[in-house]
Point group: C2
Chain length 205, copies 2
DNA sequence: CCGAAACCTGAGTATTGAGTCATGTTTCAT
DNA sequence: ATGAAACATGACTCAATACTCAGGTTTCGG
């Protein structure tokens, strides 16, 4: 439990059955870890939930840490796809920002278990956790730089901006999409977007 | 380990010796949990580090969760004091925002263990974790509303703004004060502050 | 300086759950 | 159709550690 993402991954399943079993375990782990948390989730509960034997788990994953890692990657892929789709045909960066923020909030509310899984990774495997955010930051940064070149946003430090904007999504998502299941995400997204676009400074003269 | 902040707290120590011992344990727990994480930190390591017997721990804390709770409160008090001091005589809200952000980043870099302790509380005791942020949000919100009334900032949704701004501090702090120990926090704080004040929208016209 | 309350101790108990393995079943290329 | 590789099983082992307790030591008000 000491070192991070060590040793090569287990060989992928060779048959259709194997692949199906691996997915069943992954799904059960997502539900279990997502609802009870990493510490409370036990391999035996996961395998029971997946309706496979205890030992089967170790055919596909080296440890509980290992399965968490895999889930973080899954979350990354799904969220990325969701956001890409959402901002695909936005006319400009500020509009992309609005749609992306809204889409993120919706995604969080619809995938609370995955959200928690990623958050737990912060301590279980800092390596993949950091990479998760760094990957998002990198593409965010690129988008901001391109928009700046097009004159769609004011010039500024793209790296810091990327992290700051992710921070807004992350915290606003936690507060309004995760903790408060009822509030209208449309309104929240609008309010946050207004801050992102205009800042706090008083308008006009 | 199932229910959150249950049962009344243990009675406070009655003698000077008792108080000292309790603090020794708290300090050791902060170091241990802060560096190894909640799961890896064991009571026996904590008591050894504090140079007290195993059983002594249970004179002052009901469980490992209990000591974490206490540390979150400690972090809240210390950070609040630090920030209050930092923004005490700022001439206006935007300047307070700048100083507060800078002070927060410095605090994180100087108290990495406490930062981690709070983050771990998210899963160990969601109750206190949420309260920790809600308390900050409440006073942040009040500050924004007052500033808005004074015309120092543009009108807007104070609740969402408060959480968004905390999100910026949180994420920028993690990235630049926690993960990157060398970068100049002054520059980072300035860049983030610029975004907070002006937003992304292109200036002029 | 006395004694009752407060504090301290650390070996021992009890539980928990990760990971193994010997044995059995299914798949699929030939 | 067949057999070798892949997959599946779950009772068992074993290490880790939270928490207890019976018996000691220290504190401090009167």
């Amino acid at each position: 439990m000491s070192d991070a993402s060590s040793s090569p991954p287990l060989p992928a399943p060779k048959t259709r059955r194997g692949e199906r079993t691996r997915q069943k375990i992954l799904n059960a782990a997502q539900r279990e870890i997502g609802s009870k948390g990493f510490a409370e989730a036990s391999i035996s509960t996961i395998t029971a939930e997946a309706a496979v034997g205890q030992g089967t788990f170790y055919l596909y994953f080296r440890s509980k840490e290992d399965v968490l890692r895999e889930l973080v990657l899954r979350m990354g892929r799904r969220l990325r796809r969701h956001l890409t789709l959402a901002i695909a045909d936005a006319p400009n960066r500020l509009e992309a920002e609005r749609r992306g923020l809204r889409a993120f909030l919706e995604f969080v509310r619809a995938n609370t278990d995955l959200y928690r899984v990623v958050a737990e990774a912060q301590f279980v495997d800092p390596e993949v956790f950091q990479r998760y955010y760094q990957d998002f930051a990198a593409s965010y940064r690129a988008g901001l730089l391109a928009a700046e070149a097009r004159g769609e946003i004011a010039p500024g430090d793209a790296e810091v901006r990327a992290w700051a904007l992710m921070g807004i999504s992350d915290m606003v998502g936690r507060r309004f999409a995760l903790w408060d299941a009822n509030v209208s995400l449309r309104k929240i997204a609008e309010a946050a977007h207004a801050l992102i676009v205009e800042g706090l400074a008083p308008r006009g003269r």
